[in-house]
């Protein structure tokens, strides 16, 4: 691509690319435009081969004048992938297999027909839905941070220009640094990484510092097990995040920006690297960008598998080549950060929103959302919910809308029990919270938190004590060991929870858990320790009867804690087929085929549940 050294050249480029993209989407060029999802989820289900085969067939059948194919970022609806979408019809094919490609070319591209059996079927109405926007999962969504994902090819700079990239930076360069900070303050944007600190205020602190060296750091160390919006944004529209970082750099007076991305996200890193290289080549990263005095360079550093590095001071230590342990604050990073220089750390979703705000204006962003939380939030909706995936909704959407309208409710007719938000630092919300409007403040008031946006739905089959134990195991693994209350307190809490789940709990264990939780909360240096006990405190508060059942009656009501349950074969339902006995790994089941009902020897049984999942007649019961 030719160099882009002036605003005029950039303007022309954007105009040209926009009209190209518009033609593709609207079909004005007389061609069908097929896009294939290239996110991690769909790639693991062969979307790469689907793309290659589409390209090969178009070439083989000389259809270049009738259709084009492109790879795009994540559609968000990962449980239904891989996706192939057809423009201009806005027709969405889901769960596409490599073997379907021939039909797509023949029936859709050549004959112009819609392939009914590849359409999404609404689980409630059983109706087929052709257009993406008509699917319930997408209806209540509004894409700001995910803007561009699933529309443009993340590996082609021109597509990003066509979708409005660098309009925000151009606008910022016409403003003073203070005006840019004011614009972000006015938008009401709060950090999307967890704590929800106003982004503009963070920038103001850094702008106020007089120093030749300042840094912008993008926190892409998405550690919450169950959240993947940052990965999808980096994979789907890396240029949008780079632009956000450049705007931040201009606003505070930084010349260098560092991306700190998890090593677990190889595709995101590859696309980010490519985008940075291309922007350097055209002159949009480097010295005197667009002929101004603003110079900026981007660098990438990889995480190495430590959850605590999502904490901003631990992240800085990691970039500095040290163990990722947090530092005491103050001094805050905006005063003394990376290499002791003023630094701001913004999360991926925050920076993606920044470029949107500068392009579309602060008022437009501030008109979305609630009083205290503006704009949208991306949630990674997962667990026991029909529609699993990434959803971006305006702040103020209720949990009920999120789980039942967008998420399509709980699978297999089971009952909703709880939703865990905020990951290992958050808490669970229950039936009584379903109609609360979600924003930073309401979630905290109800005993959980926004966190980075993980939202795991649990049904009646999930044991809340087991869930608390799961999160505590995670924290014990990930505690950096600096503060004793976190290092030792979490281990003691895990021991107690393990004891309870093994059926050996006593009532006094619950008091001890609470005491340890409080001590860890108030005596740890960083947020990891301060919030480590939240999952325990919140499940104890919302499900006291479940804890009591474990410690008093030594029963697990959800039937999860193996030590407290046993399997029995109901002799009246048993068809004496021996299937259970043949599948038993420890030969604990005996009986006579066709004559005597089968029976489980409890002293041998290892409670693996294979007999139950193999029985066709529901004769094996969990008690």
């Amino acid at each position: 691509m030719e160099k882009i050294l002036t605003e005029e050249q950039l303007g022309k480029k954007i105009e040209h690319c926009s009209s190209c993209l518009e033609k593709k989407f609207s079909g004005q060029d007389g061609k069908k435009h097929l896009v294939v999802c290239g996110g991690t989820g769909c790639l693991s289900s062969n979307s790469g081969e689907i793309l290659e085969k589409l390209e090969a067939l178009i070439k083989e059948k000389h259809l270049e004048e009738k259709a084009t194919v492109n790879r795009v970022g994540c559609f968000g609806f990962c449980s239904q992938g891989p996706f192939v979408k057809v423009f201009p019809e806005d027709r969405l094919y889901r769960a596409v297999k490599v073997s379907d490609v021939e039909r797509i070319i023949q029936e859709d591209v050549i004959e112009g027909k819609c392939i009914e059996d590849l359409l999404y079927v609404d689980p409630a109405t059983k109706q087929k839905v052709e257009r993406q926007d008509d699917i319930n999962f997408y209806k209540k969504q509004k894409r700001i941070a995910l803007n561009g994902c699933s529309m443009i090819n993340p590996e082609e700079l021109e597509e990003a220009f066509g979708f409005g990239a660098f309009k925000g930076l151009t606008r910022a360069l016409h403003m003073s640094q203070q005006e840019v900070v004011d614009e972000i303050l006015k938008s009401g944007l709060r950090g999307r990484g967890g704590a929800g600190f106003p982004t503009g205020r963070k920038w103001q602190f850094a702008l106020n510092q007089v120093n030749d060296d300042k840094y912008v750091i993008c926190n892409g160390d998405e550690g919450d097990p169950g959240a993947f919006m940052d990965r999808s944004i980096l994979e789907g529209n890396p240029v949008g995040v780079i632009e956000g970082m450049m705007i931040a750099g201009y606003a505070i007076g930084a010349k260098n920006g560092y991306f700190y991305v998890r090593a677990e996200y190889p595709i995101a890193v590859k696309r980010l690297r490519l985008a940075i290289k291309e922007l350097e080549e055209v002159g949009l990263l480097g010295d005197h960008i667009l002929g101004t005095n603003f110079s900026f360079r981007c660098h990438i550093r990889l995480g190495a598998g430590a959850f605590v590095c999502g904490e901003e001071t631990a992240l800085i230590n990691s970039i500095e080549g040290k163990r990722g342990m947090p530092r005491p604050r103050p001094p805050f990073p905006a005063i003394k950060g990376l290499w002791q220089k003023p630094s701001i750390i913004n999360n991926v979703e925050t920076l993606a929103s920044v470029s949107w705000i500068m392009r579309e204006g602060a008022e437009k962003f501030a008109s979305i959302g609630t009083q205290g939380s503006k704009g949208t939030k991306v949630f990674a909706l997962g667990g026991k919910v029909n529609n699993v995936g990434l959803v971006e909704v305006p702040m103020g959407t209720t949990l009920r809308e999120l789980i039942f309208d967008i998420g399509g409710g709980i699978p297999n007719g089971k009952k909703f029990k709880a939703i865990q938000t905020g990951g290992p630092s958050g808490g669970c919300l229950t039936e009584k919270d379903l109609d609360a409007e979600i924003d930073f403040d309401t979630l905290i008031a109800r005993g959980s938190m926004m966190g980075s946006g993980g939202a795991i739905v649990m049904d009646e089959d999930n044991c809340m004590v087991d869930v608390a134990k799961f999160y505590m195991e995670f924290i014990v693994d990930e505690s950096c060991g600096k503060c004793s209350p976190c290092r030792i307190g979490t281990k003691r809490m895990l021991e107690i929870l393990t004891k309870i789940c093994n059926g050996k709990g006593e009532e006094k264990d619950l008091d001890e858990l609470k005491e340890l939780a409080e001590i860890t909360k108030t005596n740890s240096l960083c947020a990891l320790g301060q919030t480590a006990a939240n999952p325990i405190l919140s499940t104890m508060k919302n499900f006291p009867e479940e804890y009591l059942a474990h410690v008093k009656d030594h029963k697990c009501p959800a039937g999860v804690c193996k030590a407290m349950l046993h399997y029995e074969i109901n002799p009246e339902k048993c068809k004496k087929c021996s299937l259970c006995a043949r599948n038993c790994p420890v030969q604990a089941i005996s009986g006579v085929v066709g004559k005597e009902p089968f029976h489980i020897d409890q002293s041998k049984c290892v409670k693996c549940g294979l007999c139950m999942s193999n029985c066709h007649f529901g004769a094996v019961e969990k008690k």
């Binding site: 989820g41 449980s79 097990p225 993947f228 290499w339 667990g383 865990q420």
Partner: protein, 164 residues
Amino acid sequence: MAKLQSHAVKLITEIVERYKDEETPLMMILEAIQSEYGYIPLEVQELVSKLTGIPVAEIYGVVTFYSFFSLTPKGKYVIGVCLGTACYVKGSQSVMDKFSEVLKIKPGETTEDGLFTLDALRCIGACGIAPAISINGKVYPKMEAKKVISLVEEYRALAAKEAQ
């Protein structure tokens, strides 16, 4: 102390040289060594210390802090079972147990033949297709315990074919 072979010395020296213009490059150096040399034993740490001037105690501290760095060689195929929340509630523990049973190793260990390493991962961001596992970076969606044996066989066959 075992002595490093000359090709290892050459590789490590080249890696350290690659990042000489970066400020505080230790993490980048270790990441490159982990991926190109496969592991970071003490003798490699000593060489890095000699080349960079960073005390070996500090390097050892960093290597043992991050779960991506390994002091021992990993297997030819590294199987990572995601135990993140979304995968866990969909039953990834039973997938992990099955791998453990089939490979006769615990998470974090490597099989005696050096073919497989079994790792527990904390969320690979593939929550939409839970439970997910990854083998040398390739992600397998919607994994089930009953698919484990055939998958292990597939990789054993692949290794046998490559050995020929």
